[in-house]
Subunit: 419 residues, 2 copies
């Protein structure tokens, strides 16, 4: 690729938003200022939809203070979309490129957008059009190949950690029961695993630290093993706080769910609802006959849902920096004539945390999924390994302490009480 | 009450934890140091259960740094309970008081604990035992009479606001659909109302600011009005982000729920599950036939659940201060011979925020509920009034900006595209 005249850059945001996707957008805008060859940065309003309908926003017109606030916000500021370019769309895409003098394209998304970028790339080659296209990684799911981690994951794992740590403080102080949390992750267990950073909040109390059990879609879910795990943990601690990837739902057949194959609405089971949590509560309450001193066993579930990527005000600092970096470095690569690739993150060191970016071929990323590897699970595959905690700690960032009161009971002066 | 010798103080935490309940505990411990008449502060491990079983922790043995960390944590550090003293328990209660020289009792809880405090008070009177007892208010539900607000509410409303603001950024950037959030509040709409502080995050964009609709248990829920509200808001904004109190679930009969009176587990509907959200999604998708440019209508629900009181690291600063204050001031009142009451918060000013404490009779609080008053709702009763926003703003504290990108589309250069 060699483009000599001034041209416009275009950014598209695609797929589910993250807490730091706008950092990458800001990174592109800021870095572009250093290159006279980029006359302006356009944003496609709602991704490919905006590109096809020529809904373009000039991002160079927005002032710096507003940019800082936008960058700090969750949600895709440009608007996102989940469209895949059809063959018939490609003519239009190149018409819009030509009409707006767009020669640098930055596609910010997950493995689906990597595929979209590939399609546009192939079409440009076929047409002999000079277009630089780079994919900027983004996904809370952390499931892209070839990169140490994905911008967005650290913040989602941070939210999950704060939820798990606080939830266990709540459980130990009130329920003393089985508290189930459903984490995002349809195909991979990265976020559920990320919640295990909560263990670092508990400091000295690490042996009892939550989450006590974590279940991943990568591991076949077995109800009997699950119930045994819960029973054993309850017997040891008098409570269980656990995290389950929503993705394990796909392993249930309809039969597992009390004979119903669909819910009352005619929808398939579990997805995007509270039903997986409700089901796990049901099997725990039905099968574990635990009566604690404080009353009968209580099992409850929360489905963390969209807040894992969207709660305002919780971002991991390193995640925000990495997201900005992949955006900014993408511009540098593009201007150096390196294109047709995804920007990857290469970790140089974990303590202190240091990384740099590199590039990889789009074909190595498009439509591929990076699963949570076995070495990041414990031997029973119902929790994480130390290697995972070391990997994820700098991505999640320093967490507040979940401090507990030492339970040193005063000497008793009376006989036992039977209520 | 006049107690001349040295005696011990006892603190009980009762009912559901809050983000700042440990601030009140810390307040009692710190203020007690100023009074030589209090030889030590004991905590009942798991409330009344701990008191009956003589499970007492000497709180004066814990160092200051650890106290600060505990105070900053959600969850009831002493352990909570939901027991009501039976007539037969009262003998034991007074045995324990005597055995441990407990003459000052601080009961930290909601309206149920106010009732428990009342029962112990009445028994002490009947026995002629010198016991001072004060109730320290605590509840995320903000539903205690006689106090401007309850410690715990501000932080829960802060979490709800951050969730609602971030959720709308997510909705506008991705879904452009109907996003339903279920807030805590079985009988009152205070937390759902509190989520409306999210509006302050949106600054200039206030007209379109989320949550766009809020539903309270205090108002009879009407499905037709609800669907009309959603449709009207969707027509105006192209999305709807709304918050519903879980308490409205109690207004549904089984018939409303597609003919089922109980769920598959044989449980009553809705409570402690994702089912209310799932049901509202169902009626929205069934009744609203909206097709946006970006595809067919998407409706989704999140049930915020326990995180509203338990996520680690989110507290309102004023809420934390108020919680400490009611604990510390309780000790002062007790030592001044004022007892048999609940500590209340009296607001002196909202801007700048200033309050002080006072006392009220336990009978005015026990078993009573403070509902969200009409003047805190908008005229359609599907949102809050300015008066509520002014009331709640200092309790929730300053919120981060939910900044959006101005959608100024560049001039189009091509004809319209039909996909």
């Amino acid at each position: 690729m060699s483009i000599s005249k001034k041209a416009s850059a275009l950014v598209l945001q695609s797929g589910g938003p993250t807490a730091v996707i706008n950092q990458s957008l800001h990174g592109v805008v800021v870095a572009s200022r250093d290159y006279a060859k980029i006359d302006r940065v356009l944003g496609a309003y709602h991704g490919l939809h905006g590109l096809l309908h020529e809904n373009l926003i000039d991002l160079t017109q927005i002032d710096g203070e507003r940019w800082k606030q936008i960058a700090a916000c969750p949600g895709a500021a440009l608007g996102s979309a989940r469209l895949k370019p059809k063959k018939s769309d490609l003519d239009r895409v190149f018409e819009v490129f030509k009409a707006h003098n767009i020669q640098y394209v930055f596609y910010n998304g997950g493995n689906d957008s990597a595929e979209a970028a590939q399609l546009i790339r192939a079409e440009a080659n076929a047409r002999g059009v000079e277009i630089g296209i780079l994919h900027i990684p983004k996904t809370i799911d952390n499931d892209l190949m070839e990169t140490d981690h994905c911008p967005g994951f650290g913040s989602a794992a941070r939210v999950a950690s704060l939820l798990a740590a606080g939830d266990d403080l709540d459980n130990m102080s009130f329920y003393n029961g089985v508290k189930i949390n459903i984490a995002m992750g349809r195909h991979t267990g990265w976020i559920a695993a990320g919640s295990a950073l909560a263990r670092h909040c508990f400091g000295d109390e690490l042996e009892n630290a939550a989450p006590h059990l974590v279940y991943f879609p990568e591991v076949k879910f077995n109800e009997t093993s699950f119930l045994n795990d819960v029973q054993r943990t309850y017997d040891r601690l008098g409570r269980v706080t656990l995290v389950v990837s929503e993705g394990i739902a796909d392993q249930f057949t309809g039969d597992a769910f009390v004979g119903n194959e669909k819910d009352e609405f005619g929808n398939p089971l579990f997805s995007g609802s509270g039903r997986l949590g409700d089901y796990l509560v049901h099997i725990v309450e039905k099968n574990l006959k635990i009566k604690s001193e404080l009353g009968k066993l209580r099992a409850r579930a929360d489905t963390w849902g969209y807040m894992q990527r969207s709660i305002l005000g919780i971002t991991s600092e390193n995640d925000a920096k990495d997201a900005f970096r992949v955006g900014a470095d993408a511009v540098g690569y593009m201007m150096a004539g390196k294109s047709d690739s995804m920007v990857t993150i290469v970790r140089k060191s974990s303590e202190p945390y240091a990384c740099q970016t590199s590039l990889c071929d789009l074909a190595l990323v498009a439509q591929k999924t990076r699963y949570l590897p076995e070495e990041f699970m414990n031997s029973a595959k119902n929790g994480v390994s130390d290697a995972f905690l070391q990997y994820a700690a700098p991505l999640v960032g320093r967490l507040p302490a979940a401090q507990t009161l030492p339970v040193n009971l005063s000497e008793k002066r009376l006989s036992e009480y039977k209520r």
